[in-house]
Each structure stands twice: as C-alpha cells, then as structure tokens.
Subunit: 335 residues, 6 copies
C-alpha cells in the first residue's frame, strides 16, 4: 500500500475546525454504507459512509466524479485508501474525495491495519482458534466430533472473524470465536460439578450453538444482517448446520436430536429468540453458560474501556446499569 | 418413641377404601396447618392438616375432644404421633383422632425419622456443612472472612436446615445449604477464567447472598414465610445481616458496600426481587451463578424423581418445560 | 366387535348414584392415560384414565388383575372395550374392570365409533381431503407443487387425522385439515385483492405452514406432544419438512428460502412461537390469514356447541371473552 | 397562483451548499407547525416549520417582519407560497422569508399541487369514494343502511381526506378511505366462507369502524390529534357517531348494540385501544380483517417506495422487521 | 313468610355427616345459578346452585319433580324458601328438594333476611344514600348538578344496591354506593390542597365515574355481567349516561367533554380498561382517588374479616400480598 | 461577585447568529459536566458542559489554556462566572473561554442567583421547611417522633435542597421537600376518613419514605446518582436511615418493623423499585398518597409552564398523555 503522506484517523479529521477547509488529507477507511440515490434533477449520486475504529463520517459522491465508479466497484465492507480535501457541509465534516483506491485482500494483512479499522478481541486470535480445535478434539464420541468438525470445515473462516453480535456482547472482530472458547472453558471447569450433564453433548452444543451467526452476519468490516439472517435467524441457521453435518457423520438419531435441541433452545426464552425452551440437562446447562459469559463479556469490555479516573461506566444496556469500573482497593482503607 | 404398632404413611392411608372405615392406625406426622375456627353453633374447633413426605390430609378436631388441647399446645410445625380410626368425610380420608402425642426434640433424632417426614437434600448434610466452613476459611481478606463468619455464627443452625425456596429450586430440607455450597464450588471453578472478578468478594457474596432466607422462611418442617419475611423480604434481610457483621468486623467501607451490593442485586431484575441491578463485576458474576445453579438444581431433582421408564418429567414451572429425563444412550443406536 | 349388551357412555356412567354400586356395564373407550406406579408396599399398579367424547374417569388396576397385562400391551391412545362393575372411590366413579379387550385397527371403522370417542370436524373429511388435493394441484410453479406434494406424501395420513391444537382452535380430529383448507379458501378469495402477494408461494405456504403439527402431536385419540414436538416444536419441524422436499423437488433457492420463511414466521411473534418476524409479502399475508381463521374457528365451534336458549358462551380463552351466540334477529324487533 | 419563477422543493433547497447563502427562491409549502414564542428580550417571534412531500425545515420569523402577520392569520395546516433568500443557521437550512402568500381554497385544486405537498393514496380517490358509496348501498337491511349513510353525510368529506393514522399504516391523504374500501373488499370476498357472520352487520361495522378518526385527526395537510381525539379517542368517537345515526335511523336495539360493539372492540385488545374484547362473530371478523389490511397496507407502501436495487426496506416498526422488497424471480434461477 | 321450622344456613348443612342422610331441613336461599340440561336419555333437568352468605351447594332437579316448574318460573337471582331432605351425591351435600317457594318482593324486607343471604356494606346504607344526595347538592354549577341528578334519577335504585365489582374491591351489596361516597369524602378533604382541580367537575366526575357498573352488573343477589356489560363495558356505559344527561341539562360543551373524559379515563391505563389516559387535572385527580379508595377498601374488608388471633390475612390478589391484620400495639412493648 | 458587564443567559447566547462570532460576553453558569479526555495527539483537554436554567452548551478547553486548571479545581456542580468570546464549532455555539472564576459559597446567596441557574419549587422553601418541622412535632408517639427527628438531623440540609427525581415528578430544587410536605398535608386531610390507619406511623412513614433520595442524588446544581445511589438505591438507603435512628430512639420493634416496611414498599410494585408489596394498612395508604401526589405534581408543573394560548402541554411521559392546560371557562359558553 503506497504510504506517501501520514494517514489521518477519523477522530483527527473530526477535530479539525471549519477554518481548515481545503487542507489535503489521506486515510485508510472501511466503506460502511453505500447508498445509490437520485437527486431531484435526476442525476445519480452515492451517499457514502466511511469509517475506522475511531468513528465515521458521511459524504456525497456525484455520478460525474472519477471516484464514483471506483466506489460502485468496491461495494460496502471494502477497505479503501482515500485522498481528498477537508470540507464541511452544514457544519459537519464532509470531505471532497479526489481519489479512492480499493485495497487488495493481500494488503489487509499489513500489521495493525485491521486493528486500526475495527474493534477486535483483546486476546490472541491465533491462540483462540487453536484452542477451539483442541476443544473439538476433546469430544470423545466419534460421530459427534466428526459432526462438529464438519460444521467448522464448512464455515470456519467466517466463524473465526465474525463478531458475536451487532450491538450487544462480544460485538467485535473475532468476538464469536472468543465467546465460544470462553464458554467451552467455563463448561470444562463446571462439568465435574454437574455430573448429570453429558460432557460430549454439552461441549458439542457450546461449540455449535452460535455458528448460525457466521451466516446471519455479513461483511466482516461493516457488519449487517444477511438475507438468510433476516429470513431465518441464527438459531435456525445453526440448527440446519448441525443437522447437515450430524447426518453426514452418521451421528445416532438420539444424540443428533439432543444436539439440535441445544441450539434451538440456547437463547433461553422464545421472546429472546429460542425456538423452544431448554428441555434436556445439556440444553439447560448450555443456555445458562451462554448467559453467564455474555454478561461477563460486557463487564470485561467495559473494564477495558474504562479510564483510570472513571468510577462508573456509561449505562450498559445489556446490564441495565452503569458498571462500577474502579477496582477493589488492594490495601483496604480504614473502615 | 413408643412403637407398639407398625406406622402408616399418608400414602398408605389414602390408598384405603371406604370399606376400611373404622380400622385403627398409628402414624408419625407433622402438624402442617392448625387453624382455629368457630362453627355456626359457636363452638370452637380446629381444622388440622397433618402430613409426611408422602402427602397430607385434613381433619377436624372439636373443642370437646381430648386431642384439642394437645394440638393447641403443639402448634404448627411440630411432629406428633397420632392414633385413631380411619374415617371418611365427603369421600375424602378424614380420620378420627383418638390420641396425639407431641414428640420431644430429642426424639426427632431417631434415624430416618425426619427423612420420612420431609424431603431433604440427597447429599450428606454433615459434609456440606463442613465444606461451607472451608469456603469461609478460604476467604483471604481478614475482615471479610470475619464478617462472613459472624453471619453464620448468628444464623448458622437455621441456615443449615432451611430450604432454599418454598416452591421453586432446592425447595427441601438443607436445600439452602446445598445450593450455597454448589454455587461456591462453581465459583471456585470459574474464578480462574474471569480474572476481573475479586475472588474474596465473590466468594463472600455467594456465601451470604441467600442468608436472609433463614429469616424469611419459618418452621423447619412446615415452611411458611415469617412476619419479617413478608414485611422485608429475604434480600433486605440478608443485606442487613451482612451490614451488621461487616461493621462489627471493621470491614472497610468500600468492600462492605460491594458486598452489600451483591446481596441487593443477586435476584437479577427488580421484578424478580432485586433491589438494584448488578453493577459490579462480582455482582454480575454471582447473580449469573445463582441463576445457573438454581436451574441445574431443578434438573437434578427432576432426574432423581424420574422413573426408569419415564421419557419426560411433568412440566417444571421453573423451566417452562417438561424435562427429558431419559439418559443419553451409552452405546449409540444405529443412525 | 361383540356387542352383547348396550354400551354406556361416560356421561351415563357418571350420572349413576352411589346406590348403583355393583351394577355391570360395558363401554368402548380410549385409553387416555396409563401411568405405571408403585404402591407403598412395593406392588406395581396402573393409574388409568379412560374416556370417550362425553368425558373421562380414572381407575386403578393392580398388578395381579388379569386386566393389567392387557392394558400394558395396549398402551395410551388405544381403543378398548371394557366390561366391569360400577364402583365409587372417595365419592367419584371408579369402576372395577373385569375384562378389557383391545380393538383391532379394522374394528375402528365401525360407523360412528370414532365419532363417539373424540370430537371431530363438523365437515365431511373426505371432501376436505379432496379439496386439499385440488389446492395442491392449483400451484402453477412446477417444482413448488412437487415440493408440497412431497410433504403430503410423507405425512399425509397423520396430517389428515391430526387436531390443529391440543387446547386452542380446531382442537379436534381432522382439525388440522379443516383449518388448512379454510385458510386456503380464504387465500383464494383474497389474492385478487393483494396483487403484491405471489399466489403460488402464498398457497404453498398455507398448505405447509402447520405440517409440523402432524409430528408435534402424537396419538390420534389421546393427543399429547411427542418427543420431537417438545424438543423442536412444530415450527422447526414444518420448516424441516418443507426444506427436505423442496430440495428433493429441485425448487430454486430463492423460492425455497421464501417458502421456509413463511413457515418460520407464521406464528406472528417470537413469544407466540415464530422463529423470525414475517418479512416477505407472502409471510405477512399467511400469518394474518392464520390468525383470522384460528379466531373464526373458535367462533364456529362455540356456535355449534351453543344451546338454543343460551345468550353467551362460556368465556373462551382464545378470545378473552364470552361469545354472544344468540343469532341476529331476522325480523328486526321494533327500535 | 402566480408562478413567475420555478418553484423549489424542500429537497432541492436542502441540497444547497452554505456557499449558496443569499440566493433567492420560491416554494409552495404547508405550514406544518407555528409556535408563538417570546425571546429573552421580551419580543414575540414565531418558530415555523414549513414543508412539502420531500421534507421540511424550520425558520424563525420575528414580530417586526411583514411576514409575521400573514403567518398569524394563516395558522397551521394552510398552504402558502413563500419567497425569500437561502440562509443557514447553525449549519442548517433556515431561509429568510421576504414574502408569504396564503393560497385560497380554490387554488389548491391546481393539478398536482396537493400531491406535491403531502403523500397520498396511490389509487384514484374518486373511484374509491364511489366504491364506498356502493358498499353502503349493498347493505340490505334498511335501517342499518340509513344509519351508515347518516354517518357519512355528517363526516364524509373529512373522512374522505383523512389519513388512517399519524405514523403507522395508511398514514397519508385519503388513507382512511383507502383502508376502509380495502377492508370492505376483503369482507365481500370472505363472507361466503364464514356463513355465521351476518353480512350486513359486518359490512356496516367495517364502513364505520374508523370513522372516529375523521374527528380524532385534525388538519388535512399537517395531521395532529384534535382536542376531542385526545380526550375521547377515535374508538369512543366512532361509537358515538354510530349510536347517533343508528337511533336517528330507528335501527332496532339489538342490531345497534352489535354495531356499536364492532366499533368498540375493533382494536383487538384493550392495550391497543379496544374498549372491550370482540364478543360477537361480526366483531371478531372485522377486527381480524382490520389487522390483515393494516399489515398489508404497510407491505404495499414499502413496496411502492422500494428502489429497484434494494433487497430489503428499512425496518418497519409496524412489522418489527425489514421487508424483502425484491420480487420473486419470474423465471426460477437454477436450484 | 311461613316459619314453621328453624332455618338452616348452608354452613350448617355442610357440617352434617353422611350419617345424617334423610334428615329434613328448611332454608331460605338465593338461586345462584340455574342451568337447563339434557340427560343422556333425553330428559330435561336443572342443575341448580343455591346459596346464602355462608356458602352454596349444587343439586339436580329432574323434569318430573314438582319443584322443576317453580324453579323455571323463578329464574336466577330470586330468593326461595326450600324444604327437603339432606342427601349426598359423590360425597358432597346434594339435598333432595321437596318444596320450593319463591319469596315475594315484599317478603325480602324481613329484617336481617337479605343480610343473611349476601355480604353487604358495613355502613348504614340509608345514611350513605343520603350523603350521596348531599354531595350532588354541593355541586355549584347549575347544569352540572342537573346532569348528575339526572343520571341518578335514571339509575339510582340499581346503583344503590349494586356491588362495585364481581370479585375485587367493594364486591358486596351497596358496595358501589359505599365506594362512591368514600371517594367523594376523600375528594372533599383533598380539594383545598390541589387548587388547580375544578371542585365541581372533580365531584361530578367521582359521583358518575362508576355509574356504568349499575348497568354492567345484573342481578342484585347473584351478580353477573349483563349483555350490555359484556358488549360495551362499564366505562362506555357510564360515559353514555353522563353524555345523555349532560345534553339534557344543557351543560356547556367544554364542561361536558371534561366530564365525559373523567369517566373514559378513570381506570388509569388502557390495559385496565380506560378508553384514554387521563389528560385533565380533574381526570388525573379522580383516577388517583379511585385507586386509593379501591385499595383501602380491600384493606378495610380484610380487617373486618380477620380473627383476633390472626397475624396475617390470606393473600389478597388486589394487593399481591397478605395483609398484616394485627393492630399496632397501643402501649409499645419494650424495644 | 464582580458585575462589570451585563450577564447573558444561555438562551440569549444561543439566539446569536454565526455573524456574531467574536463578540465578547459574560455569564454565570453551572459546570454541568466536566470530562477529561485525551486528543489523538496525546494532549489532555476537557469537554465541558455549562448551563443555567435556560439551557446549556458544550465547549472544549485544552490543557494549555489558563482556564484548564481553574475548571479542574472547580469540578462538576460548581457555579462559575465565565468570560470569553462567542464562537461556533460545526454550526453550534461553542464559545472560547478566556476567564473562569469559581464563585464562593457565600456569593451563591445573591438574591435570584440560584433561581436563575436551576428550576426550583414555586413555593416558599423556608415555609415548607418550617411546615415539615411541624409535621414531625405532630407525631404523638415519643420514640417514633425522636426517630424521625434523628433522620432529619442527619440528612436535613441535603434533603431540603434535593430534587425528588432526576427526570420525573418534582424534579427540581427543593422538590423532595415540597413533595414530602404535600404528602403530609394530604395524609392529614385523609386520616379522619381511614380510621384503620395508624396516624403516627403513616405520618412518620411519609416524612421518611424518600429520605434515601437525599443520598441517592448528588450535586445540588447538577443532579446525578451517587455511588451509593447506584449500588443500593434510595429505597434501601432510606430503610437504613430509618432503622439506624429508630434503634437509637429505642423505638419498639413492632413499630420499627412497620415503619421500615412503609419505606421498603412505598414504590408500589417491585418492578418500580419496591422491595416488597405493601402489606400493612399504613403502607398501602402511604404508597397510594405517594402515587397521587407524584402525578398531581406533574400536573402542577405542566400548568405552571403552560403559555396562556396553549391548549395542551407536550406529551408528559409520567402521565402517558398531553395535558389539557386550558382552564375550565368560568362563565360557561352556551351549550
């Protein structure tokens, strides 16, 4: 990627005053939204949202701009290098784009690049991915392990990069992988305490419970619900994946039904998206661990984002509360 | 306890036909309910419910019966040996009581007696109690450990025998102890995975979170909500206990406030009884583990009660579902 | 079927006085419930519910009765001819059974027999079934029609006899068939008014929307939810049927997805069982017609059951109201 | 209407850059909101919202402007021709108005004028109005027909122009008429299938069910709830209209009560505004058709507004979903 | 009324043993329910519920009994003197009736008779009625007072005897009168504190707010919802009464609309039956006083029914709680 | 306080045009929010919100500004005199601050100053405070009066200045005092009508019911929830205050428990914040009066803020309605 001038983040650009109008800039950004519109005079134009991890802005690109065709070819979710001049429309940052260059897939591997564009897991995703594989291997029952492996062979790469949600818990790159591995760790720790739960089924259920999200969410850089996501929902999509690979692996009908049931019921209550209420020991166990790790994931993220001096976070919708982010004093103050 | 004739359970008595009217019997039963009423003719009588683990029945005792004064002296929740004759009123079992003998406290220790009267934990309650003590000892921070110890010194014995609920999860003798120890075990297993949670506070919070129930529920053999339970609720009662002993142990104000908050928020949502939403990492953690173990406790009990041949349990209100109680086949059937 | 003595209905038996104890009787009844229990003395016995269209009663059959083995062989949902003597237990009818004979499948075709055992559609089920076939034929798009036909070839007979619900609308024999045909008629009448709705998809969606119930409900004479019904729910089961036969018929992916979506969304809202909200014109249309015909089905049944002199029905839970069953006066009374 | 210069729509004006400040313009607009305020210095001024079908903007008119008195005389909901200069306040379009001319009622009939100001039914409103009359004539029962006719003689013109809602379904000019006629068509199609429904009452109920909205909503160009709408609600207002004209037409008490009941119950559930639950066959039928056509009206509007290239609409609050607006492929793609 | 033998209450009869079968008795009772049924053999019979303040029982009267025609002539809600013999059916009291005599209206005035049949207000209903008249007279504004008076001239007597509810607060004879007078007293006490509330409108609104219940409930001795009650609800019925008499009294339109609004909104929220939310100072005030007195009425009744020795009442559904009925100690016990 | 130039309100500043950029101004304002942030270049800056009763604006103060240290020293909730030049950022008012002077506590007593900064009770707060004292004195029972007095000795001054809410009823300076006195007046007026309510307990309960809010809300000029408010909630905080001073005053256990219960239950339902449902006559009475005065407080405030010419207020969330603010006509218009 050519890097002639220092790149500006969106936060830097937004901090500029209107007196800076006309100043040249260059940035690497994601095409967050690209909507084709028609002006009152009949001319086509694009309303474009460009952003990175620090924020986003909108601008308009008319049909006669050289940039127009580049954007049309790029589409939403692509990473572009843009150059142009700072400008303001109705008081808001709205740069004039002079040049847009779509980055090749290979250029995305520049160290630190993706991290600068989107929020990502704080953990080492390579290690998480390896750990996921170990959890698959830990499933004893042959056909069950094959079924789980089959699902990840089909959707693995998408799964690996997907967020666990658009707006709630683990809503960032690799978030789905992180949440799944965390749940598997929690299950491993708890299974010796709940002997009535079949360890193989519980583990397989955890690994597969959210795989439908790899299909429900689309666009690794600009997440939105896909057509299949809207029309079927991740619960049914995940169920379908498990069913397909369970049959392929010749998993016995009893286990397959129990595995499917874990996925169909893991959202807890129908109004939260479950197809049925959890009705097996494994399904109850998995849905409770899902809830636990989802809530703790919100806690972890709020703590990461908290400034040293803050006492409380902003109100977190998923907890219906502000979180006390100040740590427990190590040396107790006098009572 | 005199044991001249073999004792009948309530189930045995109820299985009798109306043709058995007049047959003598003897049973050891709990006085479940004792309501003083006045007949239309102005005479006093008792409406009495007597029961054991297998069921209960009602009968009427008039003021001129020799049994009347014995029952008045006994009151609800006492264990009595009754002798009388089988009788039926309006088709239902309604024996005539000839003799009632209140058992002394010491007589209750007869092996198997209490177990025949009320449902109890399937685990060894001595061991559970010992384990609770070890969890208290495991709290590192001196004042916090003293505070927790103080609470159990005040309410320990009641706590040890109390059910965890009147009708929902762990609703049996020692159920509160069992549920608390199970939660502590789960916390110990999970704490290494959630490093942002202060282990001492989480553990102390778990041990104390439901201690208010030892005051909310009254009567170890015939559970009902006490006056303080109705007027304050177990959340506030437990908070008060923690506060009293925290101050006594000179626990620093910061930790005390966090400990109180765990208790005030552990029910999850205000409509389920929480005073506030969980707003510290420890409070979120404890409320999630509470939910997990409560649900798993319902699963465990349903599995214990399931007959070999049953496929599903009755509908369990706490799970909104029938539970599949048939075990996973060990040798998978052909797919 | 031997018919030596006149058969008694449950209503007739229940009208008997306790003075009739010992009177012999014979009835043809359904085994509604058959629960194996163990008495306090360790002996096995059955708690049996027997019933016909006019009601049901319970009785107990001990392990040493000759009838015990016959019932064990029969199981729930079978039709039996019972002979015995009228008896009462605790004031309720509880006959002693001397002889139980399981009816063969072929004997069930005796005219009027099934109608005497369970409530059934008021319409000619042969005609309804024929009409269903015509609606299938009316689907123009070749692969779509094949997919629908495939589903009915798989589950047709069960579908034909199944109720549409355990307790709400069309909760009687052939009720599922009746409700589906009524919806198809309504769609045919409305499609010319809503031109944005694809007629083929809407019709196919209606015919298949509730087919999962043929699997969810089990036992044509004593309806209960099957294992698959509890673990997956009829929405997912119906979706699976449509998917299987759609793929088999090589239905194009776009139409298949829309067809599956109609089934997944027809319950209207997730809290009523929908997997997703209706998000295509056809899905909105079908879910609204489903709602309309379900409610009108409750109206029709209440009117059928109303006595001439009644003004209102009992409160109907599905309508949250008592229904005014008195007809509109044909000649208006003076204002 | 004088038309010296080409008129600008609001969309055109908003597309202008701040560099266009001072450019003269002329537009025909609706006075959407006119709020009298007092500045900190005690001077009166108007905060005015002006708009057309393409959008709206706010501006301020001080008491010493020649335009002030014209606006005061006009009031909300009038159509005005404005001339002025483009200006911006705090980055937003906020033109200075030099001249405001209130259009006479007669000028509003200029072809295309009203359509340019507010969204309107896509159908021919003359034809809809004629069809409504035919539905009235189709009511067989003499007094019932007279009652319905009486209501429309009282409120017809307002009804004809009114939207069916402020923000939900059919929320545009003539929307109430369109929705009512669509429901009547649906009823005509369905009545042969539901013979227990009295056709005359059902039709009369449909025609009158929403007539209260002609009173609840005020201002044909800038809709808002009227005083009577806020204090009584359209359900009670429509009931009152039906009652008044039913009595006037000497409709028999039985039919009148049933007709009133349809109106009082058509919203379905009390929490959605129904006074009582539907408790007659006709009331159940009408409330279900209302629901069907309301939802289908949202579908129809979303399809009209969809661009060729869109796959889904925005999220529609009334459907709780994005609608798939792409049509079913006529020639199926390969499976 | 002939009084040859001492009368038995239902409580007395129910206290009898099955050994008392055949004993003659006489009682004065209300016909609570009278349902015409047809036996399996085609014969007509009545299923009758008879009761007094102490309880009720059911019995069957066949078409060939001399009592059959008397009951048919009497109908539900009439007071009858019955004579017969004690009998039991299926263990429950089910007397054989030998003679039934319908009491004349004049005989109902026998002192103490009605009080023995139904629960009634603990206050002097004559005094309450007089006080209601004084509150009407206290309305200053001439037309408003005439409107209120007009309503009570139309429905006064029914209003005077009606309960305020079937099952919730003030659910007893004269309860509606008692509740209305109590609210008027509370308003008189509070009006000096809330000067923004128009006293005349508030008082008129209170007096009329529940008058629709005099039409909604039917049968002074055996309360049930009338046809108009089911089809319109007391809110709309009361609104209609106020409107009719307001117009008759030439009440100005502004006041009439505000008065109607109080009635339409007094239930608080649409889901509790309000047609609209309270939107005037008077309507907010009246709905709050209604809520206050309804809740306090439940408290008063629970205290009246509490035995000296009770600490808590049963759970009161309207309060979602058991009420502490033990009085505050007058001399405080030592702390 | 130096007053060289006339002070501008926020409303005046916001009315300025962008053409006024650079104009000098001076204002006395509250520091509503003060957030320390770090720019992309690593420099510290403050994002500051300043406001008075007429509104607020934000501006940015960089670390090298002389004003930076003054603001850091001041903190949120302090009153400052600011001088600077009018400026705009992205079209919004965003003045450059040249000088900030923190006002001393003593300067806040300048007549009219605080009133210009925050909304306050319309009543004389001195008189309200005196009246509160009289209500305390009116409690007859010695220990109860001492307990109440004790609470106000501890938190009196904070209580006196606190709002009753952040956003709902009585959400302004002294609002808590005003609401409490209004409730006490209402109780005094109603107690003679509800004789089953203990006057001393009811009065004490009212005076203390919301005292926890004096701890829950923090910052008299810029209200926000305190740490204790978030972690415990005002219900528990008030309960703790009552308990502490009740024990100190040696109040008998029975009365103390009833007093605590009033506070724990006054919010009505758990989902609105009550710890338990009201279960004593006094608790039901207090929670109803709380609800009444809260709603009437919203009415009173809407009427105060209504312009002469308004017919309705904006929609009030607490009433779910727009309020009719136009007064009842004194001379009725012709009907």
């Amino acid at each position: 990627m050519p890097e002639e001038s220092p790149l500006s983040t969106v936060r830097t650009l937004k901090a500029l005053d209107t007196t800076c109008g006309g100043r040249p800039f260059a940035s690497v950004l994601v095409v967050k939204k690209l909507a084709a519109k028609t002006a009152a005079n009949g001319n086509a134009f694009f309303s474009v949202d460009l952003g990175d991890r620090t924020g986003s802005f909108g601008c308009t690109v008319f049909g006669d701009s050289p940039v127009f065709e580049v954007l049309r070819g790029a589409g939403e979710g692509r990473v572009v290098r843009v150059e142009g001049k700072v400008d303001f429309y109705q008081g808001r940052l709205s740069p004039r784009l002079a040049r847009v260059l779509v980055l090749e897939e290979s250029e995305l591997s520049t160290p630190g690049l993706l991290e600068s564009l989107v929020e990502t897991t704080p953990e080492d995703q390579e290690a998480l991915w390896g750990e996921l594989g170990q959890f698959i291997d830990a499933i004893q029952q042959e056909e069950l392990r094959q079924a789980v492996r089959g699902v990840f062979e089909e959707i693995g790469d998408t799964f690996r990069w997907s967020p666990a949600a658009v707006a709630m818990h683990h809503a960032y790159r690799h978030g789905l992988l992180e949440h799944t591995v965390h749940m598997a760790r929690a299950a491993r720790a708890l299974l010796p305490l709940y002997r009535e739960v079949d360890p193989d089924l519980a583990l397989a259920g955890i690994l597969l419970h959210d795989t439908g999200k790899a299909i429900e969410y689309e666009g690794s850089l600009a997440t939105r619900r896909s057509r299949r996501g809207i029309l079927q929902g991740h619960v049914v999509l995940g169920y379908q994946l498990a069913r397909k690979h369970g049959i392929k692996a010749r998993l016995d009908a009893d286990r397959l039904e129990r595995l499917e049931h874990i996925i169909l019921s893991h959202q807890g209550e129908p109004e939260w998206g479950a197809a049925v209420y959890a009705a097996t020991p494994e399904a109850v166990f998995v849905s409770m661990i899902d809830n636990l790790d989802a809530k703790m994931g919100m806690v972890q993220r709020a703590l990461r984002q908290a400034a040293e001096t803050d006492e409380f976070s902003e109100r977190l919708p998923g907890l219906s509360a502000q979180l006390l982010t100040r740590r427990v004093p190590q040396v107790p103050p006098p009572a």
